[in-house]
Structure formats: structure tokens, C-alpha cells
């Protein structure tokens, strides 16, 4: 919009003026984008923070969530996310180590890389469909923490692979040579030298994956289910915070409770993202 205006002006007006206009327009767009983020956070917090209290976090919901707290959904979110991390971390880290350390760029790594990118591009609702068809129905796990966690684990796998691979590649090659020159086998070198150095980067990937898992709704609603009780086994159906929030809003159960849940969600996500960012920064700095 503004860009085209500026474009037209360019022929008739002196380039310096165009430069000034473009500058203002570009910074304006950036300010608008940041403004949107601030608006989202303020909008949720303004009404949401008031709804949050100790009992909101620790009580069970009453009347389908119209009253009471959200304790079971917090527990469910933790369990489902934990299951997802337990699936994605070994697979993702293993894949990253293989890609970064054991293979030269060739056909095999090309296939693996493209598969990973494709997996990352699949809409979450497809993961939901798949999880429902495979884990819930075909494997007979039902709507459960296990089904939801496995589905989410596959969904965040590409994030973990990509971030971990980048972290491993950032470790100076010389470290591997030093280790191997001292009698370490390739795996010894990776295990004892490369992984400890890359650890903060790898953890960043996992933390980002946790963030995605917590905010996800479409993929968990059909796999973990919507039961509002506190789950006691991996085979129990569980309603995560996101799903709970969605239900509260769409069923028009309670605005107050919805805002409160949204605030908890947003604060959690903010903390997770800031953590990931701080870790990543420390990691890149340590290698500079």
C-alpha cells in the first residue's frame, strides 16, 4: 500500500524525498506490527489477570468451567507436553546428530531434510486427523494423554531436528579433531565434547517445541480429548488449557473464565519464548 505510493512518487519527486517517505512508511509498518503484539498482550492481560488467583490455578472447574479453576487443564497440558517432548527429543536429537555429524550432503540426507521440511509444513489439523485415525482408533489408545502426546511429539519433531542440527553445526570443527586426536572415537567426541557445547542450542529447540505443544489446539482436541477431570493415567482423556479455552469461548460458557485461561496461556508462552531466546543468545555468544 504505502510502498506503491512511494514508488509512483519516485519519478516525479526528488529521490531524497522518496527516501524520507519510505523511511517513515517502513518504520510505521514496523511500529504497527509491534503495536499489534502489544495490543494482543494488553487486551488479554487487562481482563485476564484479574481473573487469575491462586484458587483459579489450583481448583477444579465447576459447571463445565463456568466457575471454579483450571487446575485439571494445567495438569493435562503438562502431561501431554511432557509426552510430546519425550517422543520428540530422542528422535529429533538423534536425527540432528546424524545429519550434522554422520552424513555428507547427498541423496539420503536430501530425502531426510525434505521429509523434515514437509512434516513442518503440514497443518496441525492434519496431525489431529492422523492422530485420531492412528493412535486413537487403529492402535486403540483412545482419547488419551498418550495419543495426544504422541501426535504432538511428531508435530514438533521438525522444530527439534532443525534447531538441534543448527546448534551442532555451530560447534567448531576443531573440537571434534582435538577429541579424536586424543583417542576418542567419533561417537566419544560427539558425546563428550560436541553435545555439551551444543546443549543450550538443543535445549532451545526443545523449549520452542514445548511452546508449540502448549499452544496447539487442533491437533490435541481430537487425540487427547476434552475430559475435564484431572488425568491420573497416560490412558486418560485430558483437556489441555488451549482446548479448554477454545471450549469456554466457543460454547459461550464464561467470558471471565476464558480471559483468565487466556492470560495463563499467554504468560506461559511469553515465558517460554523469552527463555528460548535467552538460551539461544547465550549459546551463539559463547561460540563467538
Amino acid at each position: 500500500m504505502t510502498a506503491t505510493m512511494v514508488e509512483e512518487n519516485r519519478a516525479s519527486v526528488a529521490p531524497r524525498l522518496a527516501q524520507q517517505v519510505a523511511r517513515v512508511a517502513l518504520w510505521g509498518a514496523t511500529a504497527l506490527t509491534v503495536g499489534i503484539l502489544v495490543f494482543i498482550i494488553v487486551f488479554v492481560m487487562r481482563r485476564g489477570l484479574g481473573a487469575i488467583s491462586w484458587s483459579f490455578l489450583t481448583d477444579a472447574p465447576q459447571r463445565s468451567g463456568a466457575e471454579g479453576g483450571i487446575f485439571p487443564t494445567i495438569v493435562s497440558t503438562l502431561y501431554v507436553t511432557l509426552a510430546a517432548v519425550l517422543v520428540a527429543t530422542p528422535l529429533g536429537l538423534g536425527a540432528a546428530i546424524y545429519l550434522a555429524e554422520y552424513t555428507t550432503e547427498g541423496r539420503l540426507s536430501g530425502i531426510i531434510r525434505r521429509g523434515t521440511e514437509s512434516l513442518a509444513g503440514i497443518p496441525s489439523i492434519i496431525f489431529g486427523l492422523f492422530g485420531f485415525a492412528f493412535f486413537v482408533t487403529a492402535l486403540g489408545m483412545g482419547w488419551s494423554i498418550l495419543s495426544g502426546g504422541l501426535t504432538l511429539g511428531i508435530m514438533i519433531l521438525p522444530t527439534v531436528i532443525r534447531t538441534s542440527e543448527e546448534a551442532l553445526r555451530a560447534v567448531p570443527r576443531e573440537y571434534r579433531h582435538v577429541a579424536q586426536s586424543l583417542g576418542a572415537s567419533k561417537w566419544d567426541a560427539i558425546r563428550s565434547v560436541v553435545l555439551p557445547v551444543a546443549a543450550p542450542g538443543v535445549v532451545t529447540g526443545i523449549v520452542l517445541g514445548i511452546g508449540r505443544a502448549i499452544s496447539e489446539t487442533a491437533a490435541v482436541i481430537f487425540t487427547a480429548g476434552v475430559a475435564l477431570a484431572t488425568p491420573t493415567s497416560p490412558f486418560d482423556s485430558a483437556r489441555t488449557m488451549s482446548v479448554h479455552f477454545y471450549t469456554l469461548t466457543m460454547e459461550g460458557i464464561s467470558d471471565e473464565q476464558a480471559y483468565g485461561t487466556a492470560a495463563v496461556l499467554v504468560v506461559t508462552i511469553l515465558v517460554i519464548n523469552v527463555t528460548a531466546y535467552t538460551l539461544m543468545r547465550r549459546f551463539t555468544r559463547s561460540l563467538r
Binding site: A18, G92, T103, G115, I125, F130, L157, F222, L265, L287
Partner: protein
């Protein structure tokens, strides 16, 4: 012996993503294909009627809905995202950038249900009551605007990568000829970064097409071919999510069939973006091959030949 075993295990892990992709493909197609063949592939894709109770499954309205909201999202999101990318990559001081970039990336972390909620609470009433707009508020327009914000992080971060990959010598050449910064950006930098930016747009499209919850919450979800942006629409994703809870038998299969359409579209967009982006990487690497650009190239290739002696003690 142990090393060989470990390598095998790691290879196994490395193939997991591909294996999962295959598994997903198999299951979605196995569940969805029967309905598509029952209806005839053409009438499934071009059918206007979605009437599960009558056993009629045509997804054209949903395809149109997805296309419309995606196009709308790009019309709003692309200029905004590109402007942000240019500002951050070309204009912002390193310090401002160090704050702004992660801040904008936070937009990607906001749960889609929260976007949908804000759309319901703010955008929908606004559209309903605004002069010149009106209608029910729950509309393709509302979905487009929300999606535009949601695709911003994708467009911005990939465009920034593309812009930064343009060798410094290109800019210096332009400045040497007396061009202003804006002339340099429009005349040299953006054309050189073009394929990366195209990839950003396509990946943004992929995100918009695939988004589910936020769209359900604001799009109105009626099955009809939309005549204006103010009409309610139902997208492919919404179709699945709305009916999955109670569908069974052929109806459930029809939802998987909807999933096949979505799945194929997403994979195609991803593949195109990958190719466009791959090409841009190669062309820039070649362009940067001049010795003067060794630094830019090292950065581009992620050269990690840093001296470890400057490691901070924190590790």
C-alpha cells in the same frame, strides 16, 4: 562395534521424520480415498453441496473459502511483513534490531485460539458495526485480517534471511552510483532477494491455508460460495475441525477426504517454497563467490571456523 551400532540407531532416528510423513500420508489417504472415489474425484472437488445427511460431499465452497481468506491474508500481510523485514534488515540499527526481531517473532508464539478470541471480541464487532462494512461480522474479511497477522512472523523472518543474504557489494555498488538507500533497496536489494521473498510468501500461504482454530472462531463457517469478503465462509480446515467431533462412517471419511485436499495443497506449497528458496541460496552463493565477499559468504554458509580461544567462560 559400539560406534557402528550407535550410527545405525542415529540413522534410524534420522529417518523418523520421513517415516512419520509416510505414516501420515498412508492413514489420511486410506481413510479418505474411498469417499473421493465414491463421489468421483472431480465432483468431490467441484461439488457445491456438502450435505452429510444426504451423503453428498462437495468441497468447492471450502476450497473457495480457503483460497479467499488466504488471498486476503496475503494482501494485508505481505506489504506489512515485507516492510518490517526491510526495516529490520536494512534500516534498523543493530541494537534496535536486537530488540525488535525477537519481539516480532513472539507473534509466532501466540496460540491460535488467542488470535481467534481477539478476532471474535474485537474484529468481528468492528466489521459488523463499521460504516461501509457491515454484515454479520463473522466473515472472510475477519479471517483474512487475523491470518494476516498470523503469517507475519513467517513472512518477516524468511524475508529477512533473504535480504541479508544479498552480498554487501551489491549495495555498495548502488551507493557508489549515488543511489539513495530506498533506491538501493527497490533497485538492487529486493530484486536480488526476490526468490527468497517469494518463498516467504508461499510459506506464509501454507500457514494461512493450514490454520484452523483462529479461522473457525471468526469466519462464520457457513458452507457457501462467498460473494464478498463480508460473507461468512468455511475453510477446508474448519470443515474438518467442526464436524470431526460427531462424524462417523462415510461422513468421517469425507472429512479425511477434505484432509487429503488440504494435505496435498500444503505439501505442494511447501515443495514449491523449498525449491524457490533452494534456488535463491545457490544463486546468492555463486554471486558471493568473489573474494571480496568472503565474509558475507562465510556468514551465509554458516561457517563455524571461529577461534575457540575466544570462548566465554560460561560454557
Amino acid at each position: 562395534m559400539r560406534d557402528r551400532l550407535i550410527e545405525r540407531i542415529l540413522l534410524l532416528a534420522a529417518t523418523s521424520a520421513v517415516a512419520m510423513l509416510a505414516l501420515i500420508t498412508v492413514f489420511i489417504f486410506r481413510e479418505g480415498l474411498p469417499v473421493i472415489f465414491d463421489q468421483g474425484p472431480l465432483s468431490f472437488v467441484t461439488g457445491l453441496t456438502w450435505a452429510p445427511s444426504l451423503g453428498q460431499y462437495g468441497v468447492l465452497p471450502m476450497i473457495a473459502g480457503s483460497a479467499l481468506v488466504t488471498a486476503g491474508a496475503l494482501v494485508v500481510g505481505l506489504p506489512l511483513g515485507l516492510a518490517c523485514a526491510i526495516t529490520l534488515a536494512e534500516m534498523a540499527a543493530p541494537r534496535a534490531r536486537a530488540v525488535l526481531k525477537p519481539t516480532i517473532e513472539l507473534l509466532a508464539g501466540v496460540p491460535s485460539v488467542v488470535y481467534g478470541f481477539i478476532g471474535m471480541e474485537v474484529l468481528v464487532p468492528f466489521i459488523r458495526n463499521a460504516p461501509l462494512l457491515g454484515g454479520p461480522g463473522y466473515s472472510a474479511l475477519a479471517a483474512s485480517v487475523i491470518l494476516a497477522v498470523m503469517v507475519l512472523p513467517t513472512i518477516i523472518s524468511i524475508s529477512i534471511d533473504a535480504i541479508e543474504a544479498v552480498p554487501r557489494s551489491f549495495r555498495e555498488g548502488s551507493y557508489a552510483l549515488g543511489a539513495t538507500q530506498w533506491q538501493t533497496i527497490t533497485g538492487v536489494v529486493l530484486p536480488a532477494a526476490r526468490s527468497g521473498i517469494v518463498a516467504a510468501v508461499i510459506l506464509g500461504m501454507g500457514r494461512a491455508v493450514g490454520e484452523t482454530m483462529a479461522v473457525i472462531m471468526v469466519a462464520g463457517n457457513s458452507v457457501q460460495l462467498p460473494h464478498s469478503l463480508l460473507d461468512p465462509v468455511r475453510t477446508l480446515t474448519a470443515n474438518i475441525a467442526l464436524e470431526m467431533g460427531y462424524a462417523s462412517g462415510a461422513h468421517a471419511q469425507a472429512l479425511f477426504a477434505t484432509g487429503i485436499v488440504l494435505f496435498v495443497v500444503s505439501l505442494c506449497l511447501n515443495e514449491i517454497a523449498g525449491r524457490v528458496r533452494g534456488r535463491s541460496r545457490v544463486s546468492v552463493v555463486v554471486a558471493a563467490d568473489a573474494p571480496a565477499d568472503a565474509e558475507a559468504r562465510a556468514e551465509l554458509l554458516g561457517d563455524s571456523g571461529m577461534r575457540p580461544s575466544r570462548m566465554e567462560p560460561s560454557l
